[in-house]
């Protein structure tokens, strides 16, 4: 569920200016830069269905893949709800009853707040670099930007849910412009695409990202960043059950 959006950044972003054509190195660049870094973000997530849509707004703080804290700021019903991920433990703070609830580890398996993202997309412990073999398919244009198209096939012993992943990484900024997720039968399951590139925290990053499941046309989840800053220093004490109760 509402565990961490950090890995989303890991999956989606990367920036470097050195040019290379080794696919593993390209993927490494798109991932490496952010590993172990800290971030602060303000974002909204809109779940779009053919007959309705709902938006959730949140603030998020993270430190590496181990620590993250998410504060829901809208809608009114859920405002003030906090999720804390502390290594392998997840806590939920319910402001109306001022109660801290420890969530079961299996909470990680399910879809993230009813969106088209699964937790594996978000807090994936698998590594795009280590768990896959990489093959450069060529150079393509995605929404007017030059990109490397790289095919990822999971290594035999890797605990990965996808049968194949195709990345499209921006040639100059090393951003994930488009990612296609395939199941074990090589059927396309969903597509994640950077819809808008902009400046966040002084860096060129995707500001709007869409996740679209192939089997359900008309369904998608849109993430829009109002703020995203990797150049922050977030104290370790933010990621404690004590701080979870006072963050706002």
């Amino acid at each position: 569920m509402k565990t961490s959006i950090l890995s989303l950044f890991l999956l989606l972003m990367g920036f470097s200016t050195t040019s290379t054509t080794d696919p593993t190195e390209i993927v490494q660049k798109a991932e490496d830069k952010l590993r172990g870094e800290q971030s602060y973000s303000e974002m909204s997530m809109t779940i779009v269905r053919p007959s309705w849509n709902r938006t959730i707004k949140m603030k998020s703080w993270s430190r590496g893949t181990d620590f993250s804290l998410i504060l829901i700021t809208a809608p009114a019903r859920d405002k003030g709800t906090v999720f804390l991920k502390k290594r392998k433990e997840i806590y939920n703070w319910i402001p109306s009853i001022e109660r801290q609830i420890k969530l079961p580890p299996s909470m990680m398996n399910q879809s993230w707040m009813g969106s088209d993202f699964t937790n594996d997309d978000l807090v994936t412990e698998s590594s795009l670099v280590k768990d896959y073999d990489h093959e450069l398919l060529g150079e393509v244009t995605v929404n007017g930007r030059e990109a490397y198209q790289i095919k990822l096939v999971p290594k035999e012993d890797a605990a990965v849910i996808w049968g194949k992943v195709v990345l499209h990484i921006d040639k100059t900024e090393y951003l994930h412009l488009k990612t296609e997720f395939y199941d074990e039968d090589e059927e396309l399951v969903s597509t994640m695409e950077a819809k808008k590139i902009g400046t966040l925290g002084g860096k060129t990053l995707p500001t709007i990202i869409e996740m679209q499941p192939v089997s359900e046309p008309g369904n998608k989840t849109i993430l829009e960043y109002q703020e995203l800053d990797f150049d922050v220093n977030i104290p370790r004490e933010y990621f404690t059950t004590q701080y979870m109760k006072r963050v706002r």
């Binding site: 009114a76 405002k79 580890p105 299996s106 399910q110 009813g114 004590q242």
Partner: protein, 394 residues
């Protein structure tokens, strides 16, 4: 009261607009209709004429929660106003008295419109001031102190029990207390809470909580209603399952004629990949009288709050709870509680639907089943309640 309302509104209108305003106002307006039907067969015929077996109630329910933040200081006030109409109001005096009752030190319960038809009641159930500095936190006033770790039954909640069936009281009652918290490091905390005079019951307790090997654990020592009590709890996991438990033991006090009591609860929970959230739990409550069967149901009706020493109506209770988000708009839940005492069973299904961003509709039922002492222990429905609720959050 009116003055207070005006202040709250002004505070919110004037100041909430800015993002970093020190004021924060939240709340909701709800409409709840409830219909309940009690099975005549459980009552001796001589009571039939004076008992109403079919009842319809409706109420409007408003809540304001206002916070003010300044440096290390935080102030909080929460108030709940309900306008009742229906069968409960027609009960008259017995209903007013149960409603207009403040268990705390100050009487902040106001019943200011009372007629044969309608009843309006406001209670301030949060009113506190907090100061935080480095590793310390001090809070004085009416507040909610939750120490429990398990999902439904919380023997460790010495200060704030609640009634699980009173689902419309989402915030649960507060307690007049002083709470001091000390956080020596990232994972541990030491806490002192003193709550004098709640329903003429004095409570004081110390809690120590820490975390090791992915388990939170806590120890509690204190006094509750002239009895010394020791307790503890944990929240950890086994594989993907959450595994939690808590217990409190109350020492015998012969002078006050209080016998020893053990209250213990444990549960496991699991979230399936489709979002289904399953909880299985158990409560042992030595305080509960045995053999009450169906009679015990009356002790949880009408929003009555149980006590930490007697947190539920039966000695042995098994709990199964399922929660399933059908999609981001529709959420279903089903809770069942079973006690071998009279085969007493409570089934509590509910389904909620998000009409728009801030509007929700909820349909719920509460079904009480038990053996009928008057009909050769036949297992049947004792009472059925249905609820329809519309909620606007702000």
């Amino acid at each position: 009261m009116k003055k207070l309302l005006v202040i709250l509104l002004l505070a919110s209108l004037g100041l909430q607009a800015q993002e970093e305003s020190p004021w924060q106002l939240t709340g909701y307006l709800k409409y709840l209709a409830s219909y309940s039907q009690v099975n005549k067969a459980y009552f001796p015929p001589e009571l039939h004429s004076e008992t109403s077996f079919n009842n319809f109630d409706q109420l409007l329910h408003n809540r304001f929660d206002l916070r003010y933040y300044k440096g290390g200081w935080t102030g909080g006030i929460g108030m709940r106003t309900r306008l009742f109409q229906g069968a409960s109001v027609e009960k008259g005096e017995s209903f007013y008295q149960g409603l207009d009752k403040d268990a705390g030190l100050a009487d902040l319960s106001f019943l200011y419109w009372k007629s044969d038809q309608v009843l309006m009641h406001t209670i301030i159930d949060r009113l506190w001031l907090q100061y935080e500095i480095e590793k310390w936190s001090f809070r004085l006033g009416r507040q909610r102190i939750n120490w429990g770790m398990t999902s439904v039954f919380n023997p460790n909640d010495l200060l704030n029990q609640y009634n699980f069936l009173d689902f419309d009281y989402e915030e649960r009652p507060g307690v007049d207390a002083l709470r001091v918290q000390f956080f020596p490091n990232f994972s541990s905390q030491l806490e002192l809470a003193i709550a004098p005079g709640r329903d003429e019951i004095n409570t004081a307790a110390l809690l120590y909580r820490n975390n090791a090997y992915l388990y939170d654990f806590q120890f509690i020592a204190g006094f509750y209603d002239a009895q010394a009590t020791l307790g503890g709890g944990w929240a950890g996991s086994i594989g993907g399952f959450g595994f939690k438990g808590e217990a409190n033991y109350y020492f015998e006090n012969n002078q006050e004629a209080k016998s020893e009591v053990l209250v213990a609860a444990a549960d496991v929970d699991y979230v399936f990949s489709n979002g289904l959230y399953l909880t299985l739990g158990y409560l042992y409550n030595q305080s509960a009288a045995e053999g009450l069967g169906v009679l015990a149901f009356s002790n949880v009706s009408d929003g009555q709050v149980l006590s930490p020493r007697n947190p539920y109506i039966y000695r042995n209770t098994a709990l199964l709870s399922l929660n399933y988000p059908f999609n981001p708009l529709i959420n279903g839940s089903l809770t069942g509680m079973y006690s071998p005492d009279g085969n007493s069973t409570i089934i509590f299904p509910s389904i909620s639907y998000s009409l728009s961003t801030n509007w929700d509709i909820l349909v719920a039922g509460q079904f009480f089943l038990a053996d009928n002492d008057l009909a050769a222990q036949e297992y049947d429905a004792f009472a059925n309640s249905l609820f329809l609720r519309l909620k606007w959050s702000f």
